[in-house]
Amino acid sequence: MNLAATGMAAVVAIGLVTALLAAVVPARSAVVGVGTAVTGAAAVVAGAAALAGGSFSVVLPEVLPLSGVALTLDPLGGLFVAVTGGVAVAAGIYAMSYVDSLDLRTRGVQVALPLFVVAMALVPAAANVSTLLVCWELMALASLVLVVAEHRRGPRVASAGRWYAVMTHLGFVSVLIGLMVFVAHAPDDSFAALREAGGRLSPAVAGVVFVATLAGFTSKAGIVPLHAWLPRAHPEAPSHVSALMSAAMVNLGVYGVVRVGVDLLGGGTAWWWLLVLALGAVSAVYGILQAAMSSDLKRLLGQSTTENMGLVLVGIGAAGLFASSGEHTLAALALTAALLHVVGHAAFKTLLFLAAGSVLHATGSRDLDALGGLRPVMPVTTAAFGLGALAASALPPGTAFVSEWLLLQALIHGLPAGGVAAAIAMPVAVAAVALTAGLAVATFVKAFGVGFLAKPRSGAAADAHESPFTMLAGMGVAAVVCVVLALWPAGVLPAVQAAAGGAAVSGDVTLRLSQATGALSPLLLTLGLLAAVVVVAGVVRAAVARRARREARLWDCGGGPMSARMEYTATSFAEPLQRVFDDVVQPELDVDVSHHQESRYLVQAVEYRRKVPDRIERRLYEPVLNAITAWGGAGRRLASGSVHRYLGYGFYVVCGALILLAVTR
């Protein structure tokens, strides 16, 4: 038994023991927190061992009937196990004191948390279809329990739970159909057999398998148009669960696409990857646009998850496209960029969600328009969110910067590589990535500036207090990983490249392509930036010091003191963007002016309402939901409540069946 196998065994053992303890021990939250964190640590060890080359595989035929459980850990799976483990460590430490609301302390919720982590760690380690599907379903169920943990808070939680349950199961059905079609063309359902059969599939069958699994996996990753559950479930779930879902679970959708498309089906044809690229680009732009309009802190983070997964899919799509035209170095580069983005996104999204949870814990609100002024009262949380926001903004020295830079390099250098399709797709993808990066900066400036700086906009924000130590420690873990990834990506690059199965980047992020070499040293870049800031600040100070200075009152138009109502709100910050993208987001504006009774010329009140609905949802989901409701209404007419009628139905059906049998015989 090597280190990877020991690690995975530890993950399962510790996770299950923790779940068991959670069911019996009275002081559950501490036990579950520690247990989850240790489970996560074991997963990190197992993943790292697999990335370093220590793969393993076991088959346990007795555990599941018919096909048995088969586990294996190769570098690709190892990367995802390690990422999941890392998120679980931070979320576990955080959960030790976050669960002070009564709803979170209930037994079911506490048992579900470690099970969720175990299931997520097992999904990338599955080596046959049954194991994959069982773990996938376990993951979905455990997360569903966690999403509706705070169901007493209001009907929105229940609604979010329903959306999530329906969509995740539809996704599951889609994956199931795809994999069943695949298995029907292979001797058995182990991945090794599928891999062998994958090359021999006819293009039509392979296409069906790919599209069906793509639909299922992208629905888990929150990719447009199957993203509707994500901005509902993420805000309503407890924050450490949001972090686990947003930073670890959605990654597994990406894992599924890579595993089935690249590994099992062996690459496939160019149109698959153009489809993936298009879905990714649309999700990236649409997700960040919705996030930019959003004024709910956690919803904003959830929508930014759609954006980041979109960027990852852009990388994967480009990689597939390059591979199908024989450009393997470029393909490795694009896949490396995509997987590096998965790692970076996991780090900063964990940090952001945990910080948002800390805000929610302190103020009870996630509405940006009711926050503000948190910097003096919650300095650590503010610093953590600021760091996360910088990391998410794709600006140096941020975590996302390195991977997005690599992604852009791959897309730009891919232009001459892939024929007509690439010649059209690559410039569009570059534009989409660039637009996304720009909007992400605006979004996170808004989230940080409006949410944490200036004056408090509500009493709850004014009375906020810093969170307990373990919550801060959970954020600290994620923050350290963010900083390391931002300053020293070379530390994880070899691992990511092992997972991507090819090396195009070496040393301190140096690109080696056939036509171009380029180097990027985030550490030097950061030092350079710091030096520039110091020099500019010094020069300004020196220039100012020579002039007479006087203290002056803040210019407030000569009127009374500035109040919080004069501040820029999240809504007003997003207003110019909303105007620019008016045709895309189509906001609904309502201005009601009521007049005095005595005179129509005197205005009594003006009411302004603005809503930015999800347009894709409007167009795509509402007709379906309406149709289902209509069918339901029609079906209900059959069930009138009369026993005679129901007996009659039984009688007619039996008669019909008999007639059918008589005729067909």
Binding site: A552, R553, W555, D556, C557, G558, G559
Partner: protein
């Protein structure tokens, strides 16, 4: 397009010759501004007659900007205040704060009879006084409302052009 440029070049600048520089002493501090004066207008309680005349003083006919005076949107950007109307009780403190917000060296121009000596509103219950009673005044412009020519003349005392 090219013919338009040609026409612009051929026509050159068309403007009436400026009237001679106004008489009367020029505040010393105005010389420090070097002929370019940024002005913030403050309505301290005017009937808006003065505002209309200021508007036309900066309109195409009188074109105050060609003498180096320019209206700006904040006292932080300004060298001078252009105060109109009597100073009402509500506006006394904001006027003082606006004056404080202007970086030194600063100047104040009182426009209209109200601003000079309360004009027709003298003795009214809401009046705190003339502009001089609240902030130091450097240049005064007569009239109720003053003619745009008079306003431009007053501003030229500041710009010296």
């Amino acid at each position: 397009m090219l013919s338009l440029w040609r026409k612009i070049r051929r026509t050159g600048r068309v403007a009436e010759p400026p009237p001679p520089l106004p008489e009367g002493e020029r505040p010393e501090r105005a010389a420090l501004l070097g002929g370019s004066v940024q002005i913030r207008h403050v309505d301290a309680g005017s009937c808006n007659g003065c505002e209309i005349e200021i508007g036309s003083a900066f309109g195409p006919v009188h074109d105050g900007e060609r003498y180096g005076a320019r209206l700006v949107a904040s006292p932080r950007h300004a060298d001078a205040l252009l105060v109109t109307g009597v100073v009402t009780r509500n506006m006394a403190e904001p006027l003082r704060r606006t004056f404080d917000a202007v970086p030194a060296p600063k100047l104040v121009v009182a426009v209209g009879d109200c601003a000079r000596n309360c004009g027709v509103f003298a003795g009214a219950y809401g009046v705190a006084g003339a502009v001089r009673d609240v902030v130091p005044v450097d240049v005064e412009i007569h009239g109720c409302p003053p003619r745009p020519e008079a306003i431009v003349e007053g501003l030229r005392k500041l710009t010296g052009r």
